[in-house]
Amino acid sequence: MESLEKNKLFWKVFFLLFVGIMIVTSIFAGYLLLLQKKSIIELLHSEGKSISQSISFVTSDALIIDDSSYLVEFNSEYIKNNDKLQNIIVAKLDKQYFNIEKKSWSYLNKIDASLLQMQKNTERYKIMYSPILKKRVFHYTYPIYFSGVHWGWLHLSFDIKDYDNKINELYLLFVYLFSTLIVAAFFISFYIANLFASPIIKLNQTATSIANGNLSVRSLIDRNDEIGELSNTFNIMVKNLEESQLKLRLSHEDLELRVQKRTQEVNKVNINLELKTKELAELNKNLDSKVKEEISKRHKHERMLIQQSRLAAMGEMIGNIAHQWRQPLNALGLIIQNIHFSYNNGVLTKDFVDDSMHKGVQLTNMMSKTIDDFRNFFQPNKQKEKFSLMATIDTTIDLIDAGFKHNNIKVKKDIGDEVSVLGFPNEFAQAMLNIFSNAKDALIENEINEGLINIKVYKEDIFGCIKISDNAGGIPSDIIEKVFDPYFTTKHQYAGTGIGLYMSKIIIEQNMQGFLSASNEEKGAVFLIKIPLFKDESLART
């Protein structure tokens, strides 16, 4: 008990229960009281209504024929025979009022305003102070209607002694009930609070002992409910804790040994680590020189690539020059043969020599121009400039047209509007040359009798587009993804370097911010080039 008094939980539960019971019961009792009051009032109301209906029914003729004597006489008799009824007021519409009481009656010209307020079209009732009887009464006012005509009102005042007695009895009962309830609620709350709080307090005490290090204590609550289960579980927990602590102590001792051992191992590892760190530091020192070395290698490789590309281009150029020169060389040979033949036949004249020399000079000049053309063609541009796609393509085709004709390859051009782009025209021409050369090689390799290269130039959004397609059968699907890789070639080792398309892609995409892609059509390969359109001069300058 002493522990309960000191325990906050117990008092909280007790207070909560006690106040809760008191509040709920008080509300319930108050509500009952209200209901009882209402019920009594309703009973009086019912009685008032019944009496009013009887009186108005019996006195209806008297009201209609204005027989005041009968009204007074009947109501005087009526009131004598009704104990509760204290007075009857017959209020006529012409403001004649007959106030009939148990031992007297009076004829009035007016009644109190509080009574007049009750005169409505429907019945009214309430407990009020009667200005006539000078006491509290239950006042009931009934509108008198016969055949739908309003004749006046009946005021009935009932003695509320019974009502007051009943209410007082109810109040007394309520007081008794409340007193009993306080005592009962006290004991019930105490019992329930004790029932709930006591085991928790015991558990708390046990837990406190355990917290203070005494693991030998146990909860002694013996119950068949959840609290009993909690107590058992708690004891099991404490037992497990005790065992765990023992194990922990043993484990701790073992751990210390293991830590010592591990520490020794770690020390060894640390020594090794220090050595490795030193090595790493050394390596870091060398890394810079190695990176530089790799970059140098990369530059060398690139230079080699460029060299190879140049050489390839040179080869191509020489090949093309050779093709270009083939015709004039034959013509020159024929001129020389004609001179020799004319001389042998004695028909060599000065005019003939002059004419032959003139033709020879023309041919040599043309051959010289061919060399100039190729030299210009391979002269790289220094900066971006506006150039016509078709004009550059025409120039490129002119350079290799002899080769095309030699191999019976036709070039078909589909050109719409003039398309000007921004970039490096010579590099672009070199890329075109690579693509045209590859087409030509494929047509030759695949032995296409009527080789055809279609060139379509058009605009698309902000790009100028060149679509180059052939009828050489297309690129095998297993290698189409690799055609732009460096050193990838399908040609014989002596015929290709594998850097033509790689360089073309570099030129179009890195140098000119365009796109180069390869795909297959029904008859052959398609190369699509997109280069940003030229917009204005200022942009051109950048």
């Binding site: 005041s68 007074v72 006489e73 005087s76």
Partner: protein
């Protein structure tokens, strides 16, 4: 078992040999309805008959015909009777031959004889002007009131009351006599003094609207009761004790209240002489006027 059988035999014997006292009352003698009179009589008789050791059995009957009641009395068929005073005067000689005691019902406390008031609304006028409407109200079956008014009008106007008043009405309730005058300016009524005073007590406003214009002598009785000579003194005294003594008020209270009777008063033949003289003078006057 034995004692129970003896008790039942005793009861049977007692019932068979209890003295029968027949009562005969004229129905119209009371100031209430016949139904109320009949009920009051039955209640009273039942209460007495239910008393232990009374030794008498009351047999009460309400007569509608005063002549029949008179004949039954003189033939000794009924011992206690109540007759209208005019019937008493009519058969006085013969009745008194068979009577040992007279009595009367009083409707006011300790007032054996009645004084009548002629009342009117203060707005109304009593005259012989035929153009003015004058209604006169009486209590139903109260012939002595009409007798007094007729006598009064004969003396005053030399005509019977029916020629003075436009219309006459018999009312069942005495209180209505006063109310009618109070609420109607052309109304008049003959009302017993005791009733008038009681009603004025109930509503003093009446005095403001109603005025008493004529008062009778205090000689009228509501009825005359007669006790037959054949009734033994023992039984007569017993019955008078039960009906008059305060000790036994509880036995008669309910019945008396219902029939509006206050008390029963014993009277003598001489007590009625004044009324008898008045009646004789009235009959003479009436015969002269005719």
């Amino acid at each position: 078992m034995k004692s129970s059988v003896f008790f039942l035999i005793f009861l049977l014997f007692d019932t068979l040999y209890a003295k029968n006292i027949p009562f005969g009352l004229f129905a119209k003698n009371f100031h209430v309805t016949e139904k109320e009179s009949s009920l009051a009589l039955k209640i009273w008789a039942d209460k007495l008959n239910n008393m232990d050791d009374l030794g008498i059995t009351i047999k009460a009957k309400l007569y509608q015909d005063e002549e029949e009641l008179y004949l039954d009395f003189i033939q000794g068929k009924v011992y206690f009777v109540s007759l209208p005073i005019l019937t008493y005067l009519k058969y006085k000689k013969n009745l008194l031959k068979h009577t040992q005691q007279l009595y009367t019902f009083s409707i006011s406390e300790h007032k054996t004889f009645i004084t009548y008031y002629l009342i009117k609304n203060k707005m109304g006028k009593l005259n012989l002007d035929e153009s003015s409407i004058k209604n006169i109200y009486f209590k139903k079956n109260e012939s002595s009131a009409k007798l007094w008014l007729d006598n009064l009008m004969l003396k005053k106007y030399k005509v019977g009351y029916k020629r003075v008043f436009t219309k006459d009405y018999d009312l069942k309730k005495q209180s209505l006599l006063v109310y009618k005058v109070f609420f109607g300016k052309e109304n008049f009524a003959v009302v017993p003094k005791g009733i008038y005073e009681t009603i004025v007590e109930v509503n003093p406003q009446i005095k403001k609207n109603v005025e008493i214009i004529e008062k009778s002598e205090n000689i009228f009785v509501s009825s005359v009761g007669l006790i037959h000579k054949s009734v033994e003194k023992e039984y007569k005294d017993k019955i008078l004790l039960l009906t008059m003594d305060e000790k036994y008020e509880y036995l008669r209270k309910e019945a008396f209240e219902m029939s509006k009777i206050r008390t029963i008063e014993l009277i003598d033949e001489k007590d009625l002489i004044d009324f008898e003289n008045m009646y004789k003078a009235y009959t003479l006057l009436k015969s002269k006027v005719k």
